[in-house]
């Protein structure tokens, strides 16, 4: 780890000022992702701004019946919140399907949205990786790509997006609230928050501009219906999804589905949602119109379809 300086921000405004003052600085929340990267020198910020004391750790009802989740709310607290369990169960289930109890106690809403790839080549600084070292190449292509994305891959990167929580936020049509460097606010629909890698370098990941900070995520009023988070993996816990399905299915058979594990970002489309009443095959056909799978991860397309089928079957039952 490279030596770094450190400060604590007392408010979001404080934090964005500090960011502006220290180009290349990083915000640190739970640290469960960032510190690993710093230890391995995957990222080497010279300055850290701790945002744990910014007061963004509350969950509040919104006037329109939704929920506003502060950026520093811990994953454990969010999953256990009574309204989340009752009205947004897909979110609660997605969170507890991820990581471990200890990690979830530290991990925050913003940090989880911003977590970075689990590609093994990204983690090994001896290996070419465009995401870590733009222009060095993508080792996963032509290498070990069994866990990588089967849709949404670009010429330069094919890694899947690992966050479980984000898939649920995505299917719930959440909105990310952001403070800009000048202290004013803007919002980003969750569907636009995570980016496709595209074909240009550096590899794009998040819609956040330099110097911006997430302050909250808001959920619209509860969607009703039955909520599912089905995460498929080789071992029963403590593993990232090969495929996951976040779904809200209404009594009339309509619904919304976001897939995790299979895409370079939470994977959802209007056409996919529209196909829900027609069944898993139709949803998969709509969502996977342009697959970018490798030989090793082709199976994920079929796995995703079958997992959707499992969820739709459970919704009927």
């Amino acid at each position: 780890m490279k030596p770094f300086t450190y400060e604590r921000a007392k408010s979001p405004a404080d934090a964005v000022v500090a960011l502006a003052r220290n180009p290349g600085a990083k915000l640190i929340a739970g640290g469960t992702n960032l510190l690993d990267h710093m230890k391995l020198e995957i990222v080497t910020p010279q300055h850290l701004i701790d945002v744990n004391g910014t007061g963004l750790d509350t969950i509040e009802n919104t006037p329109d019946g939704g929920l506003r989740i502060g950026a520093m709310v811990r994953n454990t607290a969010l999953a256990a919140h009574p309204r989340v369990k009752k009205d947004y169960a897909v979110l609660s289930r997605a969170i507890v399907a991820g990581a471990s109890g200890q990690l979830r106690n530290k991990a925050t809403t913003a940090g989880n949205l911003m977590q970075r790839t689990r590609c093994p080549y990204f983690y090994d600084t001896n290996m070419p990786c465009n995401k870590r070292d733009p222009g060095s190449g993508c080792s996963a292509q032509g290498g070990f790509s069994r866990n990588h994305a089967a849709v949404g891959g670009g010429a330069n990167c094919i890694c899947f997006f690992p966050s479980d929580m984000s898939n649920a936020m995505n299917v719930l049509d959440a909105t990310v609230e952001v403070m800009k460097p000048d202290g004013t606010m803007r919002t980003i629909p969750i569907a636009d928050f995570h980016l496709l890698p595209g074909d240009e370098l550096p590899v794009k990941e998040f819609a956040l501009a330099p110097g911006e900070m997430i302050t909250a995520v808001t959920l619209p009023k509860p969607p009703g219906g039955k909520h599912f988070y089905r995460k498929v993996r080789n071992r029963a816990s403590y593993a990232f999804a090969l495929v996951s399905v976040a779904a809200v299915i209404q009594p009339d058979g309509t619904g919304n589905i976001t897939l995790g594990g299979v895409g370079t970002k939470p994977w959802r489309s209007a056409a996919g949602d529209a196909a829900v009443p027609k069944g898993a095959k139709a949803v998969a056909a709509a969502l996977f119109a342009n697959p970018t799978a490798t030989d090793q991860n082709q199976y994920k397309l079929k796995l995703a379809e079958r997992t959707i089928a499992a969820v739709l079957a459970a919704a009927k039952g």
């Binding site: 689990r118 093994p120 070990f144 069994r146 029963a236 816990s237 997992t307």
Partner: protein
């Protein structure tokens, strides 16, 4: 003491302490953090500097140049060890690759430097400043399937065994199976990484380390550093898991010793987790081809097991084929181990080397053949039991209860509820299946010494360089001494893992428990003689019970014997005679029930049962934990554990514990272990075998057979990850 004739009745047979379920005596030290693991001797070595290992960035080639200037100038850096600074080192025969590489690089993450600094953080930070320019060789071989054709027959104990006329018998067999199986490279993935604190006093070196075999470590570090063995002391009283990965002297110890010499002060090295997979040793991947032919009556007539593994030049093989040598009958046999050259990290022993993965292939092939015969897999195995080693019919097994293990297990598990037709049992979305496998693991015995002291307060202290790698050695050794000397466990202290103590068998090859307690038995016999002599009692008739010694009408207490000074017994047990005249193996049977998600192909264990016949079970509590741990590891080998080779870069890609998936608690459901109440007088005075490796043999086969029974999908490439299961599942309706 020489053990060469079957043991008669001896004090161990009293079974007052031995054989009783006993919690580990050092448990409180571990749960309160007082047990000093290798990196934790803060009080004894308060001034250790910190060494951080730099691993090679290529798998094969040479270092062109190394620029240490930035690292040397970094804050806190004391010195940097490289092949240049270390001077000429030797290499012990037990190591294949050099523990300090450069300029030649033999495998990925081979150590090329140790950066020693005042603090851990400084050492790590400076390590990133070491600049190395490599010349990457382009002729590296990393894929076993590609190297297989050039593989050579293995010599020595695993050399070819050819009996009868296999080809003729196989051609004539009316029912047969001919299939190829593969197993992946596996990591020991022990919780405690390699770690050593090295300190020099003049030319005397002390290593506080984590090692299974104290004397080998001592010998090999002396050899590597070219110093007399007598100048080395090795301490390793607590080991946080080894599984064979710590049988050897490894990088941490050599680099700590070199670092401490260069720094002029003690140096601590803890291997980074991300180096643990490529720097160290692993269990080799295998390709195994099995051809088994049987008559319509189900009797095996022909059995061919051919296996391939690969290693660096000079390295050993994974002798998977050994699993088939004496498991089942059949007059016409071919047993052939083949070794290819690979430039991957060094392959070496991991829990039940050979058998652990050989038994997967054999037991799946047996399941396939049973199905073709239309026979129940338990009955098929029972029918083909062989009471002798087919290659040495003159040599019977001293104890072979494979049939009983299978039968007891079948009953206890409810095997009769298994549906013979695959894919026919369901529980909601889950497809349910059961599988069985038999298990065999040889029980070698090794020379083992111990010293036992009786002090004036009546306390008994055992000293031996035996190690406890989490297995429970402390406890069974204490139980042995307590039984032999007629005292309670609370009167016994056990000191292990110090090269100043008599050389023991060490922990490996499931020989540790039986051998080391036999050594303690021998030393206790000596102590009993000395005590009896002191008390004027005939040693031949003296009885030791309740802290008292009696015989020939005389009664005395142990404390009286030590009243005018400590009484000492020291001896070493050596094995021969009856041990060489019989074949000594532990046997078992594994029963597994799995559920396979009919939508996703996820496999989840539901129930596991192991039945073990392993002679006297010295401590049912620790023996059980050995077996359930082994069952978990064996299931992991076929469900999720796989070091993934990148054939371009020549390394194991998934080199951390997030990506190398050992099973977690959520994967491990109900596990049960039944020990058959056996004694084997031909084995040792303890009449015991080993269980630590027996427990892993066969498990994977039972899991795979259960998956087949559940789904009708026969998988032969392990691990059985979701992508493979899915490929075999029928389309959804």
């Amino acid at each position: 003491m020489k053990f060469d004739t079957p043991a008669g009745t001896n004090p161990i047979d009293q079974g007052k302490v031995i054989g009783k379920p006993t919690h580990r005596i050092e448990g409180p030290l571990k749960t309160t953090g007082k047990a000093t693991y290798a990196a934790e001797w803060h009080a004894d070595v308060p001034n250790a500097a910190h060494g951080n290992i730099v691993g090679a960035a290529i798998a094969k080639g040479r270092i062109k140049s190394m620029d240490l200037s930035a690292a040397k100038a970094a804050a806190g850096v004391i010195t940097i060890v490289t092949a240049d600074s270390a001077g000429a080192l030797d290499k012990a025969g037990r190591n294949t690759a050099k523990l300090l590489g450069g300029p030649e690089i033999q495998h990925y993450h081979q150590a090329v430097a140790l950066v020693v600094a005042q603090t851990f953080e400084q050492a790590v930070a400076a390590s990133h400043l070491v600049r190395i320019d490599y010349d990457r060789a382009d002729d590296g071989k990393f894929v076993l399937a590609d190297a297989r054709d050039a593989a050579k027959p293995v010599q020595g104990r695993a050399a070819d065994q050819l009996l009868g006329d296999f080809e003729g018998a196989f051609a004539a067999a009316p029912v047969k199976v001919d299939a190829t199986y593969t197993t992946a490279d596996h990591a020991h993935a022990m919780m405690e990484p390699y770690a050593t604190i090295a300190s020099w006093e003049g030319d005397k070196l002390t290593l506080r380390t984590s090692n299974q075999m104290i004397d080998w470590c001592r010998m090999d570090v002396a050899r590597t550093l070219k110093i007399p063995k007598a100048n080395v002391r090795v301490l390793s009283p607590y080991v946080g898991g080894g599984f064979g990965g710590k049988l050897w002297l490894r990088t941490d110890a050599v680099l700590a010793a070199l670092g401490a010499r260069q720094a002029g002060r003690p140096v601590k090295v803890v291997m980074q987790r991300e180096l643990m997979f490529n720097n160290s040793v692993h269990r080799h991947a295998t390709i195994q081809k099995l051809r088994i032919g049987a008559g319509k009556d189900g009797r095996i007539t022909a059995l061919d097991h051919e296996g391939w593994s690969g290693n660096l030049p000079g390295g050993g093989s994974e002798n998977a084929v050994n699993a088939s040598r004496s498991m089942y009958a059949g007059a016409n046999r071919m047993m052939r181990n083949r070794l290819a050259l690979l430039d991957l990290p060094e392959g070496n022993a991991m829990r039940a080397p050979g058998e652990a993965v050989g038994s997967i292939a054999l037991e799946v092939a047996m399941d396939e053949l049973a199905e073709k015969l239309g026979m129940d897999p338990v009955a098929f195995r029972v029918l083909n039991d062989s009471q002798v080693d087919p290659a040495h019919p003159e040599k019977s097994f001293s104890l072979r209860k494979m049939i009983e293990c299978l039968q007891v297990g079948a009953k206890a598990f409810g095997w009769n509820k298994r549906s013979a037709k695959p894919g026919t049992r369901r529980d909601g979305q889950w497809l349910i299946g059961m599988g069985v496998a038999a298990a065999l693991r040889d029980s070698p015995a090794m020379t083992s010494g111990a010293r036992v002291r009786l002090s004036a307060d009546g306390r008994v202290t055992v000293e031996t360089d035996m190690t406890d790698i989490g297995t429970g050695s402390y406890t069974i050794i204490a139980q042995t001494a307590a039984e032999m000397l007629g005292v309670g466990l609370d009167k016994v202290s056990v000191k292990l893992g110090d090269s100043d103590f008599p050389v023991s068998s060490g922990s490996g090859g499931q020989w540790g428990a039986n051998s080391s307690t036999s050594g303690v038995y021998a030393a206790c016999v000596k102590l009993r003689e000395a005590v009896a002599a002191k008390l004027g009692i005939d040693p031949a008739t003296a009885t030791f019970a309740g802290g008292k010694v009696s015989g020939g009408g005389k009664n005395a207490t142990l404390t009286q014997a030590a009243a005018d000074g400590e009484v000492l017994g020291e001896d070493t047990i050596k094995f021969g005679g009856i041990r060489d005249q019989t074949h000594q193996s532990a046997f078992g049977a594994h029963f597994v029930e799995v559920g396979v998600d009919s939508f996703t192909g996820e496999i989840r264990l539901r129930r596991m049962l192991a039945v073990c016949s392993a002679g006297r079970i010295l401590n049912p509590t620790s023996a059980r934990s050995q077996v359930i741990g082994a069952m978990t590891m064996g299931a992991g080998a076929v469900l999720s554990e796989e070091l993934v080779v990148d054939p371009r870069f020549g390394h194991f890609v998934n080199h951390d514990l997030a990506q190398y998936e050992v099973l977690v608690h959520a994967d491990v459901p109900h596990q049960e272990v039944i020990f058959l109440p056996d004694l084997d007088p031909a084995s040792s005075p303890m009449k015991a075998h080993g269980v630590g490796e027996l427990g892993i043999c066969g498990v994977g086969g039972a899991v795979a057979n259960a998956v087949y029974n559940a789904t009708g999908v026969r998988l032969r490439e392990f691990p059985m990850t979701v992508d493979k299961v899915l490929a075999g599942l029928p389309e959804l309706a």
